[in-house]
């Protein structure tokens, strides 16, 4: 016993340098993938039908850029309606009053249960159902009224359809977020004398955000692409402007590729934004925040403070910059 202990102290056993396990399967898979990638690259370069020069010509063309702006506007407007109405619906849905929670349930049931494509067409043709839209006393005289066709333009129809549909999904996201907050938090806030609104705003919603933000990014990205459905209502967003061009020039594939590239660019920007918003709401969370790409780069460049690794069980920094805090 004592002998081995002394031994242990004097000669530390040498570092293990074992022969690693070979993975022939991985090598085969890698080779196959590389060949496929090479074929794809070859085709991208040599197949003239891709029409890369056409893609380049129209990429910053006036109608395309205008369509792009409209796509962004549609996305923003629909998400604002979706988020605001969704939060209201979620709070209604959690109300103890059965009429309030029941109405919210019915709304969600209806708007989630019908295709958004149908909803866009429906709003676009709303004038066939209600030729006149007015504001006034229920079942009484009307104060303001107008022609439905003039009020609900194709853009308004698209925003209404996309926003109201999004609200139904968003309500469920918010509800899940609120339910994810431990009930002890509500009790602690109540015992300090906070009213329902105060404890929602100060205690519950900030913590629910951690659950709400990632799906919100997802929904925004999804919305950005769903706006292309508005082309059916003759809204000249990104896809419809591309369609208008190839209807004239018959260069279908290049213009669809151009639209796809724009969608990819926009979703990439949103993905990066989502990453940083998520980090912001991870304050006080019990998991370690991964370094941002910028911090990783700093780490690779090897500044001394950045090179120190965060031990796995260590407590994370509350906001960004865990490396700087640790260093």
């Amino acid at each position: 016993m004592t002998v081995t202990e002394v031994d242990h102290d004097r000669h530390r056993p040498e570092e293990i340098r074992a022969v690693p396990v070979r993975h022939p399967g991985r090598w085969v898979a890698t080779a196959v993938l590389l060949v496929l990638l090479a074929m794809l690259a070859h085709s991208l370069v040599t197949n003239p039908n891709f029409g890369w020069s056409v893609v380049g010509t129209y990429f910053f063309a006036g109608p395309v850029v205008r369509g792009l702006v409209l796509t962004l506007e549609l996305t923003a407007a629909a998400m604002v309606i979706g988020v605001v109405l969704g939060v209201c619906l979620a709070i209604l849905r959690l109300s103890p009053n059965p009429i309030l929670s029941g109405s919210a349930w019915c709304y969600i049931w209806f708007f989630r249960g019908t295709p958004v494509f149908v909803q866009i067409l429906f709003w676009y043709n709303i004038a066939a159902l209600f030729p006149h839209i007015g504001l006034g006393v229920p079942f009484g005289p009307q104060v303001l009224h107008g022609n439905a066709n003039a009020l609900v333009t194709s853009i308004v129809a698209a925003i209404l359809a996309l926003g109201l549909n999004e609200a139904a999904y968003y309500a469920e996201i918010v509800r899940a977020g609120i339910l994810s907050v431990d009930h002890g938090q509500v009790e602690a806030a109540q015992s300090l004398g906070m009213r329902r609104i105060q404890l929602m705003r100060r205690v519950v919603l900030p913590q629910a955000m951690r659950v709400i933000v990632p799906p919100t990014g997802n929904e925004t990205i999804s919305m950005l692409k769903t706006t292309s459905l508005a082309s059916v209502a003759a809204v000249t967003e990104l896809l419809y402007s591309a369609q208008q061009i190839y209807a004239r020039t018959y260069q279908t594939i290049p213009l669809l590729i151009m639209a796809s590239i724009w969608y990819l660019v926009l979703t990439t920007v949103l993905t990066v934004g989502q990453y940083y918003v998520e980090r912001h709401y991870a304050r006080g969370a019990s998991y370690a925040l991964p370094p941002t790409p910028f911090q990783r780069l700093q780490g690779m460049l090897g500044s001394r403070s950045a090179r120190r690794r965060v031990p796995p069980g260590d407590v994370p920094g509350p906001l960004s910059d865990p490396l700087r805090r640790q260093g």
Binding site: G184, Q185, A188, Q190, S191, L192, V315, P318
Partner: protein, 254 residues
């Protein structure tokens, strides 16, 4: 005759058909410490939660400092209080939970400062100064900028006590404040509570710490099955319990 800080008369509480409190009557004078002891499920925590109206009682009456809890009595009828009034009365009662329930998204200082600013509308600099003093008193002045998950259980519970004290309550309720702690962290929390008691705070403490009850408590109440079985000065109750149930409980926890 001074009004007792807490007065309970025949308090009953049911969940559906399950009767958890079957007529609790007791009294706590100002600056006194009442320790509630009893097996789990005996209704101690439920009673504590009734005092600040986190639970509604089904019959009986509860008064805090002479004011009826949760209701107003007018012309012989009870009227439920609006939320605003319930909350205003809760500000006078501090509560400390078994699982701390600190707000994880706020720093230690913000945990203490938020409620007085948001609920009582006090000026932030004034509250911040008071919060720092309180955190210093519970021995955590070096942790003001930490987040709760960076603290040990004992430190978190001391922040929770400071958070409750920042509202300047007349009565403090402790719901098993040391039950979720590692044994070696229990002492630091009990020290803070002892200090608070000797400072004249009125306290109702649900606990399994017999030593604390004996040393700090003015009255010890033993509850079982929703009723008060025994009540008296802690040393007497612990040394010579009158009920068989109390005796067998004490023999297991001592």
């Amino acid at each position: 005759m001074p009004v007792p800080m807490l007065l309970a008369e025949g308090v009953h509480k049911r969940y559906g058909h399950l009767e958890v409190l079957k007529g609790i009557s007791l009294e706590v004078e100002a600056s006194q410490v009442l320790c509630l002891l009893g097996p789990s499920g005996s209704g101690k925590s439920t009673f504590l939660r009734c005092i600040n109206h986190l639970e509604k009682i089904n019959s009986g009456r509860l008064w805090v400092d002479g004011t009826l809890v949760g209701y107003a009595e007018r012309n012989g009828r009870l009227h439920e209080l609006p939320e605003r009034e319930v909350c205003r009365r809760r500000t006078q009662i501090g509560m400390v939970f078994q699982r701390f329930n600190l707000f994880p998204h706020l720093t230690v200082l913000e945990n203490v400062v938020t409620a007085p600013v948001v609920v009582k509308g006090e000026a932030r600099p004034v509250v911040t100064e008071r919060a720092r003093r309180l955190l210093d008193r519970v021995g955590l002045s070096s942790k003001v900028d930490a987040y709760p998950n960076q603290l040990s259980g004992g430190q978190q519970q001391r922040v929770a006590i400071a958070r409750a004290l920042a509202m300047e309550p007349k009565l403090m309720l402790f719901d098993e404040p040391t039950s979720a702690l590692d044994p070696e962290l229990v002492g630091e929390v009990l020290d803070v509570m002892r200090d608070l008691a000797s400072d004249g705070m009125t306290m109702v403490v649900v606990t399994h710490e017999i030593g604390f009850a004996r040393e700090v408590g003015d009255t010890l109440v033993f509850m079982d099955g929703g009723v008060v079985l025994e009540e008296g000065p802690p040393r007497e109750v612990i040394a010579s319990p009158r009920h068989e149930r109390t005796r067998s409980f004490l023999s297991k926890v001592l």
